[in-house]
Symmetry: C2
Subunit: 411 residues, 2 copies
């Protein structure tokens, strides 16, 4: 894409509301625009990152037998009355159709929809296991939306619901999901700071688990074991003074943001909706369920909190809006040629062909944070050499044009 | 994908509410599930079709300079007061946050969001033209939702907004969009029955245009010219008794469903929000706008209305959930081998490996409607021959296994 035609521009003015690094850098870089508190538009650059994250998640969910569906945001009151959550869930947006007078909620989670749906197709042990997920917009009537895209009123989530015949099958799937989640955070560039965290399991399970990313921007406190790299959250530390995995009592208190949670629902919701299956002997049982969430827009914000410096964002390779930022310094013809060559070689390229000074282009490139920057100047044009700078490095390399593709494609 | 593990199954029971062919076939085939009137879940098969349609639309929008963004569904009341539509738009879902008491609407369209957004980045003639689009869920408080996914309360739409400096530029872009829309309907398999239809342009333009697909399921009446294949809608026929393009007065009255509309907004919304740009001479002008919508879930329903027979759906190739339906009739080993070969050759394949009779498999395959069906039976296994049947054809072909890929890849 050519930057001269890109809708967004980098911005100097960021509203006073920008209490957080992710909000400030994402707005300044032209990734998002705030419509109101907790509600954002994703601009072309931001949407590209969201889609990269979505694709990582899709690939990982498919590996573990997930089948993608798309459930609605509008939910009928009846379904939420079945579980009792119509009255107990404070952050449910509730309203009435002015025509039909039907009472509706905007889904903040989808147990109330997915369990009745599963009842339509799950009847026998032969129909199990099943794992359904969606990537879909969710709504929460938050008292205070804050921290940029870390806590929104409208946000994108991946939620997967597992359906198993036995607790043992649920346990096995749950354990496999922990590995899948770790892989997602690793690919998204926050693996080294993201910890499996023991949390309360509610009335049905001993524990649930959160995935918490250590950052000063976090609203949660976790207690981290440096030995086994496992953490416990506040609820658990009050009952239990050590790490549940290794027994270590010297835990470090750190601020963190929850980037995922997994929960064994067991029969809580299958009981509410009477979701059962018959076993080989014809006996009826409740289905064992689990739920597995990742806030995708929150993950995007967390990536920025973890990967930035004083000049801007440093996108991890797999989620960067483009692979390469090609800066043309008064060398349009040469730059266009290299732009086409790179695109033909399969790279996503942003070509800065704007009529701006070199200083502005460098500054904007740092802010936008694409991993690799190529600089084509008049001087380099004469020599056939191109300056290659990785966003993470302070020094640049000089590569001859004929070696460029092989240099960029090296592992 | 293996059909034995697919979440959905074909269904015999379809609710009494199923007044329409698309609802009945999509529910029976396991593509969608109704949560409440006008609100549907897209099951794995249905979501695959939605994504194929989305990708066609994305490709076509990118060709015409569209930049994809993602705007929120939650809109603040203020924006809708600026245009006066808070009070005049009957099908707006409106409600209040119970914490903040902020009044909100669920977006049925996005002029109220995209114009203030454009104000942040469009200031000079150098910033024009710009074309922004999104593929996003919309909400309408319909008095009566009906006709399956043709008229929903929650539905997926593509909406593009164009921003130009002059009326001439707007006119040119609008004309180019007509070609792009025709191409989309052609690729989606409804091109031969979809007509450009003259409609009222409101207070600012003489005409707007709808794209109407002729079908008995349609809720609209259009007047079709058999000479130039252009139509006019009811509003226009009352003012003007002929075809605006060729002057023909013998127009045929047919039922149709609106699968898209394009509208020159001119300065209606840029005026409301004071979206201006300065020209080369430093003079300020209002930006010229157009909007261009396609209901994606409605398009899916229309494709089914147009492409089916008494046995089920007949998916057009580019939007089919899978390229090939591979039916294994007690020949699992051979079928698995061919399944892998086809996948490696780049085909999307649904393998019917269920423990069902041949009759059930044929019936379900007709209902699901994948364009090409391959039948692997014990008999054919001995000869190396495979029965290939296209969903549209009544006769099948016998192809030797070694010629299969080249047969399937022929243009």
């Amino acid at each position: 894409m050519k930057q001269s035609s890109l809708f967004s521009k980098t911005r100097k003015d960021v509203s006073a509301e920008s209490d957080s690094i992710n909000h400030r850098l994402l707005v300044k870089g032209g990734f998002i625009s705030q419509l109101m508190s907790g509600v954002y538009t994703y601009l072309p650059l931001g949407l590209r990152v969201l889609k990269k994250i979505e694709n990582i998640i899709r690939e990982e969910m498919e590996k573990i037998g997930g089948q993608e569906i798309l459930m609605p945001a509008l939910h009928p009151k009846e379904n939420w009355e079945v579980t009792g959550r119509w009255d107990t869930m404070d952050d449910l947006y509730k309203f009435k159709s002015h025509y039909t007078k039907i009472e509706l909620a905007l889904g903040p989670t989808h147990e109330e929809v997915v369990v009745p749906l599963a009842k339509q197709f799950i009847h026998s042990y032969k129909d199990l296991p099943k794992n359904l997920y969606q990537i879909q917009v969710k709504f929460r009537d938050e008292m205070r939306a804050k921290s940029g895209v870390l806590r929104g009123r409208e946000f994108l989530m991946k939620d997967l619901y597992s359906f198993n015949a036995t607790e043992k099958d649920l346990d096995d799937y749950y354990d496999a999901m922990i590995n899948v989640y770790n892989n997602i955070y690793k690919r998204a560039g926050i693996g080294s700071k993201t910890y499996l965290t023991f949390a309360s399991g509610g009335s049905f399970s001993k524990y649930s688990h959160e995935f918490q990313t250590e950052t000063p921007a976090g609203e949660d406190i976790i207690y981290l074991c440096s030995k086994c790299k496992i953490a416990v959250n506040k609820e658990i530390i009050e009952e239990q003074k050590n790490c549940p995995k290794c027994g270590n009592e010297e835990l470090k208190e750190v601020k963190a943001i929850e980037v995922g949670n997994i929960f064994k629902l067991k029969t809580k919701f299958s009981d509410a909706f009477n979701l059962t299956f018959t076993d080989k002997a014809g006996k009826e049982h409740l289905v064992q369920m689990g739920c597995y969430g990742i806030g995708i827009s929150r993950l995007l914000g967390t990536i920025v909190e973890i990967n930035h410096d004083e000049n801007g964002i440093i996108w991890p390779k797999e989620v960067a809006p483009f692979d390469i930022h090609l800066l043309s310094l008064s060398a349009d013809e040469k730059s266009n040629k290299i732009y086409e060559t790179l695109k033909n070689a399969g790279f996503d390229v942003l070509l800065d062909d704007r009529d701006e000074t070199a200083g502005t282009k460098f500054k904007d490139a740092d802010l936008i944070g694409i991993p690799i920057r190529l600089i084509i100047s008049q001087k380099l044009e004469r020599t056939g050499n191109i300056e290659v700078k990785e966003r993470l490095e302070s020094e640049s390399l000089i590569i001859n044009e004929k070696d460029l593709i092989s240099h960029l494609k090296r592992p």
